[in-house]
Every structure is written in structure tokens, then in C-alpha cells.
């Protein structure tokens, strides 16, 4: 039963990891750029949801939609003004740009918001559902449901809408996409906006049980990259599988090993997967 509980807990947190990692993988898949600043948008999303809660009294789960919209717009601006310029530049320039962006965003946030930890208080924060011997914390469940919802919405968009199909075409072959009359630059802007917006959304939905401060991204950035590479870089389904796997490994490892070693176990598994399947769990070779 302890095992079922651990898997369940892992699933809950893994859903959130998946939601924040999808954005990273989307940006890479469509644009071929590894966005090292991705986790900073998670922090911004958390702050937006916090302020929406503090000043408008809206629950962070509603604030998450506000966070998505604002960061989506910000993402398009950043793509048009900064990222676009390095699209054809060497990878080193792209790395410098996104790492620089990381440092700038983090320090601007420190200047603007100060370094203190902020936390919301909601009615369901300390309640839980009980299924026989199993417990599920309501804020975890709510975050998981929102993550599933966002994943489903993204799937609908990518699979059914013209824009989604055009974006996938851009990912597969930008030149061919352009020949088919697709505005590749527009698609890249959209992908970047969606990518960072989704990560911001993921940040907002964990606010009911997590605290936010300008350097919170550090706690998630490694996990995000692990989830994405584990599933297969650039593959959306891979990010979902990767995120869930990371959550479940962290949680289940605590049954056998000290909790201190949860990330040690995670990275052992990570190295194992990469050794056996260099393109990730479900990634096809690119």
C-alpha cells in the first residue's frame, strides 16, 4: 500500500513536472534552441499568480491562466526582439543569449520583488482526499488536474488546429513549410510564446503548496532538463513521460533509500536510460 501511495504521490508531482517541461521541449522541437532561461518563466508565472491572488483575490489556479496569457505575450516579444537574431547564429551565441536572459530576468525580479519568500493561503491548502488508506493532498490534485488540462489543450491545438499543424510542419522541415506558404517566423514566435507561457502556467498551479521567490527557478531547472532529455528532447509526449517518470522515481525511491538520495537515484536512472536509449524513452532519432 505504501508503494501505491508513493506512485500516486509521484504521479501528482510528475504531472506538474510534465507541464513545466512541455514548454522547454516545444521550444527546442520547433526552433532548435535550448532555452536555458525557461525556468525563469516558471518564476514569473508564480509571481503573476501571486499578485493576482494578493491584489485581485483570485485563486492561483485562475491566476495561472492570467500568467499564461501575459507570459505568452512576453514570450512573443522576446522571440521577436532577441531570439530571432540568433536563429542562424552558432549554437554558442544561442546559449549565451538564453543564459544571459536567465541572469537578467532573475536579477530584475530580485530588484522588483525583493528576495523574500511569498506564499498564498487558500481554503483547500491543508485539506486532502482520503481513498481508504490512501491520501491525496487537494493542492497536489488540483495542480495535477490543471496540468492534465493544459496538456490536453496543447494536444488539441497541435493536432487539430491549422496553426498546430503548421507548427509541426515547421518543426519537421522549415524550408518545406515555407514553400507551403507557412510563415516560419510567425510559427517560431508562437512556439516560443506557447512554450514559456506553458511553463509559467505550470509555475502558477503549484503556488498553492509552494512558495515563490526570485531564485525559485534553481530548484526546478535541473528537473526540467532531466524530464525533457529523459523523454527525448523536442518530443512533447516525451516530456510528459519524462516528467511523470521523474516524479515517480523521486517518490518511490524514498521507500527504499533515504529521502536525501532521491535525486541521486533519479540521476542513476537518468544515466541508465541515456546509456540504453540515447534519444530518450520515446524519442526517435532526429
Amino acid at each position: 500500500m505504501a508503494f501505491v501511495q508513493a506512485v500516486l504521490d509521484g504521479l501528482m508531482i510528475g504531472g506538474v513536472y510534465a507541464a513545466i517541461s512541455i514548454g522547454l521541449t516545444l521550444v527546442f522541437g520547433v526552433m532548435g534552441i535550448v532555452n536555458f532561461a525557461q525556468a525563469e518563466f516558471l518564476m514569473l508565472g508564480m509571481f503573476i499568480a501571486y499578485f493576482v491572488w494578493a491584489y485581485l483575490g483570485l485563486d492561483p489556479l485562475i491566476g495561472s491562466i492570467v500568467a499564461f496569457v501575459i507570459i505568452f505575450a512576453l514570450g512573443i516579444v522576446i522571440q521577436r526582439t532577441l531570439i530571432q537574431r540568433v536563429m542562424r547564429a552558432p549554437a554558442v551565441a544561442q546559449i549565451f543569449l538564453t543564459v544571459g536572459l536567465l541572469i537578467v530576468i532573475e536579477n530584475l525580479a530580485l530588484l522588483a520583488f525583493g528576495s523574500s519568500f511569498r506564499s498564498v493561503s487558500t481554503s483547500y491548502q491543508t485539506s486532502s482526499l482520503r481513498l481508504g488508506p490512501l491520501f491525496i493532498g487537494v493542492p497536489y490534485l488540483a495542480a495535477f488536474c490543471m496540468a492534465v488540462l493544459s496538456g490536453f489543450a496543447l494536444w488539441l491545438f497541435m493536432d487539430k488546429s491549422w496553426y498546430g499543424q503548421a507548427m509541426r510542419a515547421t518543426a519537421q522541415n522549415p524550408l518545406a513549410a515555407r514553400l507551403m506558404g507557412i510563415n516560419v517566423e510567425r510559427m517560431q514566435q508562437l512556439a516560443f510564446g506557447l512554450g514559456v507561457g506553458l511553463t509559467a502556467f505550470g509555475g502558477a498551479i503549484i503556488l498553492p503548496y509552494f512558495t515563490v521567490n526570485p531564485t525559485v527557478a534553481e530548484q526546478f531547472v535541473i528537473l526540467m532538463f532531466t524530464a525533457v532529455v529523459l523523454g527525448g528532447l523536442g518530443n512533447i509526449a516525451g516530456a510528459v513521460v519524462g516528467g511523470l517518470t521523474v516524479g515517480i522515481i523521486q517518490s518511490v525511491s524514498a521507500l527504499v533509500f533515504p529521502i536525501q538520495l532521491q535525486n541521486f537515484v533519479l540521476f542513476l536512472a537518468f544515466i541508465g536510460v541515456l546509456a540504453l536509449r540515447p534519444h530518450g524513452l520515446i524519442g526517435a532519432s532526429r
Binding site: 505504501a2 501511495q5 508513493a6 504521490d9 501528482m12 508531482i13 530580485l110 525583493g114 528576495s115 523574500s116 519568500f117 506564499s119 493561503s121 491548502q125 491543508t126 485539506s127 486532502s128 491520501f135 493532498g137 487537494v138 493542492p139 497536489y140 503548496y209 509552494f210 512558495t211 521567490n213 526570485p214 531564485t215 534553481e218 530548484q219 526546478f220 528537473l223 516524479g247 523521486q250 517518490s251 524514498a254 521507500l255 533515504p258 529521502i259 536525501q260 532521491q262 535525486n263
Partner: protein, 409 residues
């Protein structure tokens, strides 16, 4: 100076040379003015102003700045001709290597007489390697046992050691439980795996073993943990009477919220850190009520002194601010005694003098005296408890301001 001003005022036909001289004089102005009074004494302040421990660093800086203003308003260090205290504040971030690097920088570039900092034990340990090598006194309120345990000559710790604080965390709890007619038989310990958590957990563990109390859970977890559920699952199955978590704020809040979600209502005895700051109460609301914690100091022991802090910053004087304030006041007293600004003379004064009065009144006993290892021998830890928005000292009896509430049934 004077000559230049008068010559340019005399004739309006200023030559290029005169303009240059004037410009140079203006640039030199700050240095000239400084020479009129006694040169300020540079005191290094290294604290985590960003990263996971930023909030505690900011609190600490507030306490230090309050005391520096008070000293300068009184006319500075009198034995040095009224030299004002000039704080050179640097951000150690929350990374030990950075703490050491900025320490090196303050010593070489700002010729500081002493350094205060760096709140977190892991930062102070890294920093103390540098201050020891360069023979600059380091005054700290970090309390990992290693800080004074390495035979260093230049480190001065204002509060008790982590193992002593950890032992008091258990002993105080046992005493409070006993006062409510209960004997502690089974306890749970959880701590973040940093210098602070590890050494304080050791203190709790040893005191519990000595008292014949069974430790039914003893779990370390990584700093920056993203999900504490596995920890709380273990706690739920451990059948403990009380839980002793040692953590900073983020994980502390997560631990208590997850406990409440799972309807675990054990008495919680925090290990200072995140359990004794106003944000704890703000974030948890009613769930903070009656949470106990050990503390190396508390504002209600010196309401008159600490009220100034509340007025200036709008929240009660948290213990890290209080202890850093004491550090700076003790350093100022040592400078008065030393009558010199050489680090070696300051070090000598720090290790030989018994300090009284001023902010020392906020310490238990009202006295600060360092032994050969640099430990303040008069420091004793105390238990505090959340009563509404206030943190009340409830143990030991000679310091207690309120009666402890034991929530176990």
C-alpha cells in the same frame, strides 16, 4: 582646495588648466572631506541577499544597519577620534564558494577590520577559511559545531553551538511535555542535509537517546526539496508523539501544510530557521498557532532595544537580526577597547574583553565573553512558541515570558 576656488572666483577668464584643476579638485572632494573627521572604520558584512536564504540575509542586514546608525548617531568610535562605522555589504548568494570569494574581495579591496556574517552555517564555514588565512576577525551567529570546532583563532560565535541548541530543543520539549503531565517516548526528526540541519539533528538525537526516548523516524532531505510528501508519508507511519523538523522557510511551510493535509496534528518543534520569522505566521495563519521552536535568541528578552527595529522595519526583530546587531555592538565595543583599527588588535580585544551593556542586554545574562575557541560562553538557547502574531519565550523558566501550551492529547 581653497586656493583653486578663490582663483576661479576672482577672474571669469578661466583657462583650460584651471578648469582641469577645478575638475580634479571636485573629484577629490569626497576624500578631502573624509580627512576632516576620523576615517571611517570599514566593517565587512557578508550575507546571502539572494538565493534560497536571501530573506534571512536581508533580516540580518537590517539588524546590522540599525546598530550602525545608532553607533554613528552617538558619535562613532570615540577611542578612534569619533570614527564612524562604514558597512561594506556584499552578497554571498546562497553558495559557499561565493561567500569565500566576496570575503577575499572585501579583505583585499576594502581593508575591513572585521567581517560579520554569513547567516547560514555552510556559508560561514567557507567564509571562515578565508578570514582565518588572512587573520581578519569573523563574527557570526551561524551555529554549526564545526565553526568553533576547528581551532580557528579569528572566529567569534555569538550564540550556542548547534549540538547544544539541538539538545535544548529536545530537553525544552521534554520539560514542556512534562509540565503538561506527558512523557516523551517516541519522537520523529527530519532535517535538511546542510551543515545546520545535520549538526542540530545530532544534538536532538543525542539528547533523546540520553533521555531514553525512542527515535522512530530520523530522515535527512535535500535543501530545495520540491515535494515533501514522501517525508510526511514516513511520518504518518512512524507513530511519533512529536516531530522535530529542522528547516528554513520553504520546506518548513511545505512540511506543515502536508502534515495538515494528512490530518497529522502532532506538536511541532521547529529548529529555529524558518520557524521563528513573521513570514511563517503570515503564510500559515492559524496553523502556526502553538508551533514551538528552539531559538538562540528572542526579541521579547529585550523589548526596549528591539522595539526600535519594529518601528524602523515594521516587523518584530527576528533572532538573526538581533544576534547580528549584538555582533556589531560587541565589535564596536572591542574597537573602543583596542583603540586601533588593525585586525590583530581587534582580535585581541574581542578575545580578552567581557562585553556588557548596549545590545549585550538582549543576550541571556546580558554578557558576551568568548572562550579560546571563539564561542560565547554565556549564550543559552531558549524555546519559543507562536501565540497569535507574537513569538513568546516559554522555556527555560528563568527567561520565560509566557506559559507554554502543549498541544498533544
Amino acid at each position: 582646495m581653497k586656493k583653486v576656488v578663490s582663483s576661479s572666483a576672482k577672474g571669469l577668464s578661466t583657462t583650460r588648466r584651471q578648469v582641469l584643476t577645478l575638475g580634479a579638485a571636485t573629484l577629490a572632494m569626497p576624500f578631502v572631506t573624509r580627512a576632516w573627521a576620523a576615517d571611517p572604520v570599514n566593517v565587512g558584512v557578508i550575507l546571502p541577499l539572494s538565493g534560497a536564504n536571501a530573506q534571512f540575509g536581508v533580516n540580518s542586514r537590517n539588524g546590522i544597519e540599525l546598530v550602525a546608525e545608532q553607533i554613528n548617531a552617538r558619535g562613532g568610535i570615540k577611542s578612534l577620534g569619533g570614527a564612524p562605522i562604514n558597512l561594506v555589504v556584499a552578497d554571498s548568494t546562497s553558495t559557499p564558494t561565493t561567500a569565500a570569494t566576496v570575503g577575499q574581495r572585501l579583505i583585499t579591496q576594502n581593508s575591513v577590520v572585521a567581517i560579520l556574517g554569513a547567516y547560514a552555517s555552510s556559508l560561514s564555514l567557507a567564509l571562515s577559511e578565508v578570514t582565518e588565512r588572512r587573520e581578519i576577525p569573523l563574527m557570526t551567529m551561524s551555529f554549526s559545531d564545526q565553526i568553533t570546532g576547528r581551532g580557528f583563532k579569528n572566529v567569534f560565535q555569538i550564540i550556542a553551538k548547534a549540538s547544544v541548541i539541538g539538545a535544548a530543543q529536545f530537553d525544552g520539549t521534554a520539560a514542556i511535555a512534562k509540565g503538561a503531565g506527558q512523557k516523551l517516548e517516541r519522537i520523529a526528526i527530519m532535517y535538511e542535509d546542510t551543515a545546520y540541519g545535520v549538526s542540530q539533528a545530532k544534538g536532538v538525537r543525542e539528547a533523546a537517546t540520553k533521555a531514553g526516548t525512542q527515535i522512530v523516524m530520523d530522515e535527512a532531505y535535500p535543501l530545495g526539496i520540491t515535494d515533501v510528501t514522501p517525508l510526511i508519508n514516513k511520518l504518518r507511519n512512524a507513530n511519533a508523539q512529536a516531530v522535530f523538523p529542522m528547516s528554513y522557510l520553504n520546506d518548513g511551510l511545505q512540511i506543515i501544510r502536508s502534515m495538515r493535509q494528512q490530518k497529522i496534528s502532532l506538536p511541532i518543534i521547529g529548529g529555529a530557521g524558518g520557524y521563528v520569522i513573521p513570514d511563517f505566521r503570515k503564510a500559515l495563519g492559524e496553523y502556526a498557532e502553538n508551533v514551538l521552536s528552539i531559538a538562540p535568541g528572542n526579541y521579547d528578552l529585550a523589548p526596549k532595544l528591539t522595539e526600535d527595529f519594529r518601528k524602523k522595519y515594521g516587523y518584530f526583530m527576528v533572532h538573526e537580526a538581533l544576534e547580528h546587531a549584538v555582533c556589531l555592538d560587541v565589535l564596536a565595543q572591542a574597537l573602543e577597547v583596542a583603540k586601533a583599527r588593525e585586525p590583530a588588535a581587534v582580535r585581541k580585544a574581542l578575545s580578552e574583553t567581557e562585553f556588557k551593556g548596549g545590545w549585550c542586554d538582549a543576550m541571556p545574562g546580558g554578557v558576551v565573553k568568548f572562550d579560546q575557541t571563539g564561542l560565547n560562553t554565556h549564550a543559552v538557547p531558549m524555546m519559543v512558541q507562536w501565540h497569535g502574531d507574537n513569538l513568546a519565550t516559554v522555556w527555560p523558566d528563568n527567561l520565560a515570558k509566557s506559559k507554554a501550551v502543549w498541544t498533544a492529547t
